[in-house]
């Protein structure tokens, strides 16, 4: 299956989804980006350079870990985990960001901008900018700045300027809008490092391309570990959809069921979650540069979204998934906040892993389905990131009293 072998006049489209809906002023910039990216994609030495960078800087390949304890406890399928949490900066976001860093370098640009919600993408981008010597500005909704201060702290220390966006819901989607505003002003020297497989063409393709390293490795690794077998099911969480696209690309051509796990938040109902496909609250629209399923009202204005995982808390889904879902190639499920909390506790205690809250959505659905599967069946979960960076959120999610005491004492110490 080659998703990116576009038909004439349908470049950037996946079925009816995707495209590029941008202000005219960006046309030349996007053309230049497309040209550069496609040149790189055709050039095998580019991928080699990328792989080497990821190997030496970020520690790739990340391993696949077998979870004997969890598998045994659930009594069904054998569970394996792809460990994107072991990347430098703690998530798969670095794969995309370093790739775009190379692109930016080829474009001869000296400045990068990025949106961030949870902060992982901003953190990764700030890291990449430090490494490549780019100026860096990160847009982050004011609400997110407040709840993700640790990431802001590191971004600033890595030399990035972090702008707290005051518009709209003051979260991820508003940060994206603000990036667009910066980009239409500074495109001559600035590359916009979009953080997930969303946005206008070529971003979904480009981000998927760099994230495909996950699936390429995982396909090889799982076979090595299981004597040549492929997984029966692969689970990945889906915010914008980049980590899921990353791992799924390793298995599209195989008889492997692919399950995208969205943020079920407080359960179905407008404004209570961020599940675009698993629940039936979203509809097709065009925003933030592309066409896909959005959580929007009848007038096409976007709804509030809710999730314990900031990184999944987004109104739209990547257009490739909207298409693959329609085609029946990828199944979508949603994990609620409550399921995520319980699953996180379970995984920490049984296997010593701390998945990011985002990644825990994938674990939650795997934990639900594993017992119904045979002991000779295989599950692969993509652990897109590590949870220890989200201690404030996790401590709140788990409602930890000691933690609250600690914070109060720390605050008292700062007061004095």
């Amino acid at each position: 299956m080659d998703l990116f072998d576009f038909k004439d006049g349908r470049e950037g489209y996946y079925g009816q989804f995707g495209g590029s809906f941008l202000p005219e002023i960006l046309t030349a910039t996007v053309e230049e980006l497309k040209a550069c990216f496609h040149e790189c994609k055709k050039d095998p030495s580019f991928w080699a350079e990328y792989e080497q960078l990821m190997h030496q800087y970020s520690g790739r390949p990340t391993p696949v870990t077998y979870l004997p304890n969890l598998s045994k406890q659930l009594g069904g399928a054998q569970i394996y985990v792809k460990r994107e949490d072991l990347n430098h900066t703690g998530s798969h976001k670095i794969n995309n960001v370093m790739g775009q860093g190379l692109i930016c370098q080829r474009l001869g640009k000296k400045r990068v901008i990025a949106e961030t919600g949870a902060g992982q993408h901003g953190f990764a981008t700030a890291t990449m900018a430090a490494k490549f010597g780019f100026d860096c500005k990160i847009y982050m909704g004011e609400v997110d700045v407040k709840r993700q201060r640790p990431n802001v702290f590191w971004m600033e220390n890595l030399g990035a300027e972090v702008v707290a966006v005051q518009d709209g819901q003051r979260t991820l989607k508003d940060a994206i809008n603000e990036c667009m505003r910066d980009w239409v002003s500074n495109m001559a020297d600035t590359h916009y490092v979009l953080g997930t497989a969303c946005g206008p063409h070529p971003f979904p393709e480009m981000v998927s391309y760099f994230q495909s390293i996950i699936g390429m490795e995982a396909n090889r690794q799982i076979k090595e570990l299981t004597g040549g077998r492929l997984p029966d099911k692969v689970f990945a969480c889906v915010g914008g959809g980049s980590n899921a696209m990353g791992i799924f690309q390793g298995f599209f051509d195989d008889d492997v069921e692919l399950i995208g796990c969205e943020a079920g938040g407080l359960g179905p109902g407008l404004g209570k979650h961020a599940a675009r496909l698993a629940y039936s609250d979203a509809s097709v629209g065009v925003a933030q540069g592309f066409k896909t399923f959005f959580l929007q009202n009848d007038d096409g204005n976007m709804l509030e979204t809710q999730s314990v995982a900031a990184g999944l808390d987004y109104i739209g889904i990547n257009p490739i998934f909207a298409y693959l879902w329609e085609q029946g190639r990828v199944r979508f499920e949603a994990a609620t906040n409550e399921e995520v909390r319980e699953t996180l506790k379970l995984v920490m205690k049984t296997e010593g892993l701390i998945p990011a809250l985002e990644s825990t959505h994938a674990f939650a659905k795997a934990v639900e389905e594993a017992p119904k599967m045979g002991k000779d069946e295989i599950i692969l979960i993509n652990q897109s990131g590590r949870g220890d960076k989200d201690i404030f959120t996790v401590a709140d999610a788990l409602d930890d009293a000691h933690w609250r005491e600690f914070i109060k004492e720390k605050a008292a110490q700062y007061e004095s």
């Binding site: 809906f21 202000p23 002023i25 709209g168 007038d299």
Partner: protein
Amino acid sequence: MSLKDYIAERKAIRTPLVMTHVVCGYPSFEDNMKELEIMNAHGVDFVELQFPFSEPSADGPLFVKANQESVDSGTTVAQCFDFMAEVTKRFDFKVLMMGYYNTCFKMGHDNFIKRLKEAGGCGYILPDLPIEEADELHALSKQADLTPVILMTPTNTDARLAQLGAASQDLVYCVARKGVTGSKTEMNQEVITFLERCRQATDVALGVGFGVSAKEDIDFIAEYGDIAIIGTAALKAWEVGREEGLHRFFESLGL
């Protein structure tokens, strides 16, 4: 009378023509009406009625705030069309729908065109709808005799401007500089060169916008373009001094 004729007729009276902008429902439809009264009194030729959108990514801070507050206060697309109908009935200037493509997409192209026509609009400006994506909508517009206002920008190549020109009718919107709405543009040689390139690319009227806020700008556009498009500056004047402020502002422009 066709829009082309309307432009020709008005040009005979005063040059440049003037297009102003109102964000529907901000601060309220009543205030919008008061603004329009003043604009009408100062003889504007076109008004954009912006349908507020939750993701106004091509707008600058003041319009962002206006979009947002209007959405938050519950402004609907239906209300905007109703308002447009009232406006077109009451005033002589031409009214354009301005907004983001999702508003149109969500209601369906057919429906959009139908309701815009019913409300008396003469066209629309959708800054996030590139011509590549606009075939169907443009075809429907032609049938309904509505004008899609296409944007030309300084970063476009001559080839691209020619493409944009070919797709245009009646008027184009020349974006005087990079960036979003709201900040001042220095009307310099660069802008002149850009407008000359636009003129090469099309015969239709050149609207010039983004940062138009002073008498010099109007004079400049009189020389190099056809329509001065005044956006944020008017809203700013209103924010500061309401009716009186807006009135003074137009006076200061010599209108």
